[in-house]
Symmetry: C3
Subunit: 362 residues, 3 copies
């Protein structure tokens, strides 16, 4: 614990948000997160301004209606951030590292005007051998004002212990973490029909049939991150983790500077991937994700992808799914595809994302 | 008057906004400010992106409706800025210093879709002994499209004289500046009932009964200001005071850099105060406020508060009021509570705000 | 072609947006641009946050309704950017320089909720004598979801050839490029009546009759550009031209840094011009425009104008038009009016815009 962090802890009033430590999580605990959030056209515009995404479905109410949506749904990754933002005060404030995600499944579409809520259940705890930290596993769910699930995921983080001397809990590691979300669990929004999908409108003629397993696509565009941009994105989600927003503390920290919220890198990678995957209209699942290195203001983010699997969806002739691996780098435009858990993972790669998108068939 | 300012004045066409000088204000003058402003969900989102506020009432339409609001009202401090922004071309452009506020009373809630207007009446003028400057006192009022008052306040600023040789006006100093807004003058929005207020939703179990006079709360979180953030906030309010937006002039100025609009510091302090005061759902009044030092891009803002008074509200069993003193600092996380008008006020403290919030009772 | 650009080209998958080269344009080709865009209150708020515009018509739904609008229309220049943003992947990605505009005519007002589309027809091509580049002329049109034209313009850009050895096409230079949009072609929005225009509301008493041909107005205010601001503006429009957003590439480029989207300078000049032209409520046409030098983050933009012509509008007693020349500079507040195509054009002037505004009559 750094002196500054200790100082924060000493200063914390009983009335401040409870900054939880490893000892405060017990398997079976359910945490209903505070501060439900109504998502608006305003949030969508700020998100556009910090990502520049060009996916047609999220750009045009008219086109979205033609596909059976009520209007343009919010970007799936924005929905992720809005749910994630609910969980930060209870899960992330004292987290040392965001270790991984699994089984991230997107539910009903989210529209401007919807209000999202979130809760998390502790499903695992395991103290590390150093007795100073431990891993906490949570299963989190986000839902809208009608109680419909908008997001469901498992996440594990490394937490600081408050007291090294406190006894280690019985270790519980969830045994059923899925490698990837099966097709049967992907949510196809009700009433959607993309049989009239229009490549002229989206800017791409590449449909499901045009991609091959093993195919690699460089998305070309790079985006340079400014401090104001990642801070504004992070605050838009009400993610108040200190490490992203407080230079006065971070200048004394591990990197001497603020760290960009890893989710912002996912947003940039998804936005950049439009150049090559413009018809991948919905992120249906994130099978696993790893922030392999931190990003900072001044970094230029690039992204490239590999098609891992082509997945038929039963009873759908209008759409199918692609399982993708998208890698994002900082200040390095050359695509590399290192082995997933390689020891000598290239240090400029900041994101390794395995996810499943829906895409129209010809 | 700096050379550059002189240059501006010489260049000004008759068709430009009238930059008023001390001599241009006369007790009794009423100035109806130009450019009414419709506030939208877009403005609320930009405000969220530059403050990260977590007050539940402003985050969730659903929760706001449960309390009797039509939907989530805009943040009170955003309402302040939107009214204040109307007054800038007439009051602040040539102001040397924003000396103080008194009796700032918040009226009906402001919602997206409302249009605010503002006017100011000159209630005092007093030339300084240097014959180069003087203090102007104005009473300003903001109202919505239905003529309902949304904000009412007294403010005094130090203005430059255009001509040192012009005769000093009869000094008038308003004698009835109130020390604080009495409970009887606080506006409780019609139809609001917070008896079902939910600490689970807001993230805090601390209600009116849980606070004690003299209690001190450190709000812990620090937020680092970027140039783009304070400029975007300031322009959102259409506050066009040169000192915040023009580095070409300010690099030759007193500080060599742009000064952050003091109101942005109030916004950050209020947002940061949510950590410890999450149930203080409405700023009902600002009793007095002082920007004790300028803030600049790169500064990290912290805030802490003291409970000054606990105030019952007649005929209300669902809510009461707290009179608070919130101090904000730059690049200094240690809480200090100097005497209000102390000569050796700590130089890192940038805001000393005495205000009254509404908070539910148990 | 820089090595980095060559690298991008080599990496480009068939599935990426087609980066067109000079050889890919043929006179008569019609390009329907992808990604229609719904404009929202959110986009309007972000635009306000990066420009600070104070034109009353775009600020107040109430005032706009009094003039016969459905509500506050979006800023005309924002409408321009939104249409322009559609065309970027097809026209600008490989452009070396944006050479000019002509006959930019604004159509029906654009409101939040409207969706804009765009198409371009190639009307000219002319290879340069160096055989490495050529000029492409396009006529572009933007329309809304009801098929009503919102913008119509001619533009010419200098494009790179893909292969220097490829044969030059038959040169075609459009002969009928108009010097300025005639009054008869200006679009007066249906149902608008500004006979009750209110100088108190707009902040200016200067109406059509008060301006004289040859009159010069310095708009005084300067605005300093931050990287985050111009990037957010540019991405809001989904303008994904690399030169504005990718420091990793641009640090090796001609200027060693990102170049500000020229359209952002037009936005700032228009916003700044409110101080002196507050009643010029609609940009009806841009007769010609030239970005005379690049702008970069850190520059402070100033603007000044000359009245070129006073134009009566047949059968309108409530309004008339002014043809204006507005110049914008970087880091130079002194107004200069060089000859339009002068060889020794002052290097600090970044914009030379000839345009026509509507303004109420007394």
């Amino acid at each position: 614990m750094s002196d500054l962090t200790a100082n924060f802890t000493a200063n914390a009033s009983e009335k401040c948000f409870h900054s939880r430590y490893f000892e405060d999580y017990h398997v079976g605990d359910e945490i209903v997160h505070s501060v439900p959030r109504t998502i608006t056209e305003g949030g969508m515009a700020v998100y556009m301004a910090v990502t520049g995404s060009r996916f047609a479905l999220h750009s045009s109410d008219e086109y979205a209606r033609e596909m059976g949506y009520a209007r343009a749904p919010i970007d799936d990754i924005l929905a992720f951030h809005m749910v994630f933002g609910r969980t930060v005060p209870d899960i992330s404030l004292n987290a040392i590292a965001n270790l991984g995600y699994a089984g991230v499944t997107f539910g009903v579409p989210v529209y401007a005007g919807d209000t999202v809520n979130a809760k998390s259940t502790v499903i695992g705890v395991k103290e590390n051998s150093n007795h100073r930290t431990g891993t906490v596993y949570v299963h989190s769910t986000g839902w809208n004002q009608r109680g419909e699930v908008v997001l469901d995921y498992t996440r594990w983080v490394m937490m600081r212990k408050k007291d090294e001397a406190s006894p280690a809990p019985e270790p519980v590691v969830p045994g059923d973490l899925i490698d990837h979300v099966p097709v049967a669990d992907l949510v196809i929004p009700a009433g959607i029909d993309v049989s009239k999908w229009n490549g002229q409108v989206t800017g791409s003629d590449a449909f499901f049939e045009d991609y091959e397993v093993g195919e690699k696509i460089h998305h070309l565009d790079g985006q340079t991150i400014e401090e104001a941009e990642h801070q504004m994105a992070t605050r838009l989600y009400q993610n108040n983790a200190r490490v992203h927003l407080n230079q006065h503390v971070e200048k004394e920290g591990r990197f001497g500077q603020r760290i960009v919220y890893g989710g912002y890198i996912i947003s940039l990678a998804r936005a950049i991937s439009c150049n090559g995957l413009a018809n991948a209209f919905r992120v249906a699942a994130i099978n696993s994700g790893r922030h392999t290195a931190p990003s900072f203001a001044g970094n230029t983010i690039y992204a490239w992808s590999e098609i891992l699997e082509k997945l038929e969806i039963p009873e759908r002739s209008d759409m199918a799914a692609l399982r993708l691996r998208t890698l994002a780098s900082k200040d390095e435009s050359e695509a590399q595809y290192p082995q997933k858990d390689s020891k000598d993972f290239p240090e400029n790669i900041v994101l390794d994302l395995d996810y499943t998108v829906l895409i129209p068939r010809r």
